[in-house]
């Protein structure tokens, strides 16, 4: 039997398979390189990168929750200049690198792009308009369609590379934001970022996280993520990278069938460092067993069967 074709094309970039680690959960790749050959990934999405170095939030930054976790990292990163080196090193692995771009203003997003745009290593930008842990406005971008359209339009003018807009789930109608990003010129969308949550330590009688609130990720959020991927892929024409609670091939297949063209895996890397390559294999096995020649055949399949 021929092995199924796993390639997908997102925003003009061809990926060898539809599986990538999610931003912030895989550093710049170096930490997971000892566990498996990174060339088994469809792409690598690196940590949220800002123009200037960013210290992030004070600790505690983590809390475990039922079926998931809260994080309030607050975009700790070495800044775009230092990130150049890490990105270039990563590229040696020949896997497309997607740079997650963060900022507190349109100008700051633009700065990151300008500092990185000459790097051949950068295959695309993922514009994080949805980080719930940055107080100065990160969330604001993600919740107002007009602001989103304007930001995307502005960044569209700053680079020829593909722009993937990463959406916040903490909104009443994610399809409105998705359409705004599409109108602004986005090449693709990523969803979902984390749900805004919190935890309280009843012995210390105070919030667990120094930042008060944090972003909820992991299996717990999968049903919400899947619903939003279904809704958004019905509302826009551009491809969607689906994520939120994926911890293996069965979850990934749900997202693909809901309409995602590719998937990203975040928190599950922490439980199982091999989750990404195992998911690639699991998807391939499913396709082979069920007689699909290409992963593209199952994208949105649950919708087609849904009258």
């Amino acid at each position: 039997m021929l092995s199924p074709d796993l390639t997908v094309k997102i925003a003009g970039v061809v990926l060898a398979n539809p599986v990538m680690p999610a931003s912030g959960c895989f550093g710049y790749g170096e930490e997971y390189a000892p566990f498996f050959d990174l060339r088994r990934l469809g792409a690598i999405v690196v940590k949220g990168t800002t123009a200037e170095p960013c210290a992030g939030n004070p600790p505690p930054r983590l809390a475990e929750t039922p079926g998931g976790m809260l994080n309030a990292i607050g975009l700790q990163n070495p800044g775009a200049v230092a990130a150049r080196e890490k990105i270039s090193a990563l590229w040696q692995s020949s896997v497309p690198v997607i740079v997650n771009v963060s900022g507190h203003s349109a100008a700051q997003y633009r700065d990151v792009i300008e500092l990185l745009d000459d790097l051949a290593a950068v295959a695309a930008y993922e514009i994080n308009i949805s980080c719930p842990n940055v107080k100065a406005g990160g969330m604001a971008f993600g919740t107002d369609p007009a602001v989103v359209a304007g930001l995307v339009r502005e960044l569209r003018g700053a680079t020829k590379k593909p722009l993937i807009i990463k959406l916040s789930p903490n909104v009443t109608d994610i399809t409105a934001i998705a359409r705004a990003a599409e109108e602004g010129g986005a090449d693709a969308l990523s969803l979902i970022n984390t749900l805004l949550g919190m935890a309280i330590d009843i012995e210390r009688r105070r919030p667990v996280l120094a930042n008060l609130t944090g972003g909820l990720s992991g299996p717990a959020i999968k049903p919400v993520a899947l619903r939003m991927v279904w809704q958004v892929t019905s509302a826009v024409e551009i491809p969607v990278i689906g994520m939120g609670g994926i911890s293996g091939a069965r979850d990934a297949l749900e997202f693909l069938m809901a309409g995602a063209s590719a998937v990203a895996i975040g928190a599950a890397n922490f439980t199982n460092p091999l989750v990404c390559p195992e998911t690639v294999e699991g998807i391939s096995d499913y396709l082979a067993e069920h007689g699909f020649a290409s992963v593209k055949e199952i994208v949105g399949l649950a919708k087609k069967e849904w009258s």
Binding site: K47, R61, E64, G67, I73, S247, F270, N272
Partner: protein, 253 residues
């Protein structure tokens, strides 16, 4: 390729009420102070791995010593000989040996776990070791004979006086800080470490402490486990930059 192990459980012993010693088949070449990230459940609850220090490690054995404090460690304690344990490691920094001829080692409660490995290494290196072991009570002074056998000077402190001196362990250790040309090593609750750091600083001893933090990835990727470090703009990660830090780096205000 590296670091992900599935080791068979050889022995699961209750060494004191609420404390377990787990012996696994297979060595992972860990250094004193390093830890492993243990997967306690196949399900997503609890979701994260649990960090446990390497207590003892040979070519074909890995031994963990842990306290059952919550659901994760309870699940670990429920695992039986013959079952397989999924773990990542060895992870993190280790206790460095120095050129000082002697060592003062201070353990608070289950903080003793990684120090066993260290005491072995110090012994092997021919150091003169004074070990101060503090706990709430006699029952929580784990594996006393085994620790005692590794060191020249062994002292105990308990909160209730049920064994050794009724004192906090740092109080008991203070004279050694003053008199010995020693490197200081410590693991235990945070207030104890802070006091050890203060004493070491006061007497001018170089000092290494092992910190705890809530971890997620355990490998440096998530930036969740950070602590502020003296003179550094960026926070440092307990899981890869630590858990062992120079005391002055992390206790500085």
């Amino acid at each position: 390729m590296l670091k992900l192990h599935k080791l068979k459980i050889i022995k699961q012993e209750l060494v004191a009420p609420g404390y377990q010693r787990l012996t696994l088949a297979g060595g992972i070449a860990a250094l004193a102070g390093q830890f492993v990230q243990v997967r306690v459940s196949e399900t997503c609850d609890p979701f994260l791995r649990r960090p446990i220090s390497v207590h003892h490690c040979t070519e074909d054995r890995l031994v963990l010593l842990y306290r059952t404090v919550g659901r994760g460690t309870a699940l670990l304690a429920a695992k039986k000989a013959g079952e397989t344990l999924d773990l990542l490691g060895p992870l993190g920094s280790s206790f460095p040996l120095t050129d000082r001829p002697s060592a003062v080692v201070v353990a608070g409660g289950i903080g003793a776990a990684p120090l066993y490995c260290l005491l072995q290494a110090l012994k092997q290196a021919g150091k003169q070791v004074s070990f101060f072991y503090g706990a709430r009570n006699q029952a929580e002074l784990l594996l006393r004979d085994e620790y005692r056998a590794l060191v020249a000077n062994y002292s105990e402190a308990t909160d209730d006086g049920s064994a050794g001196t009724r004192a906090v362990v740092t109080q008991l250790a203070t004279p050694a800080f003053a008199s010995l040309d020693a490197t200081v090593y410590a693991c235990g609750p945070s207030p104890m470490l802070r006091e050890v750091a203060r004493l070491a600083d006061y007497y001018g001893r170089s000092c290494f402490v092992s910190l705890e933090a809530q971890l997620a990835c355990g490998v440096g990727a998530c930036l969740g486990c950070v602590v502020p470090v003296k003179g550094q703009e960026q926070y440092r990660r307990v899981c890869v930059d630590g858990p062992v830090f120079a005391a002055g780096e992390v206790f500085f205000c």
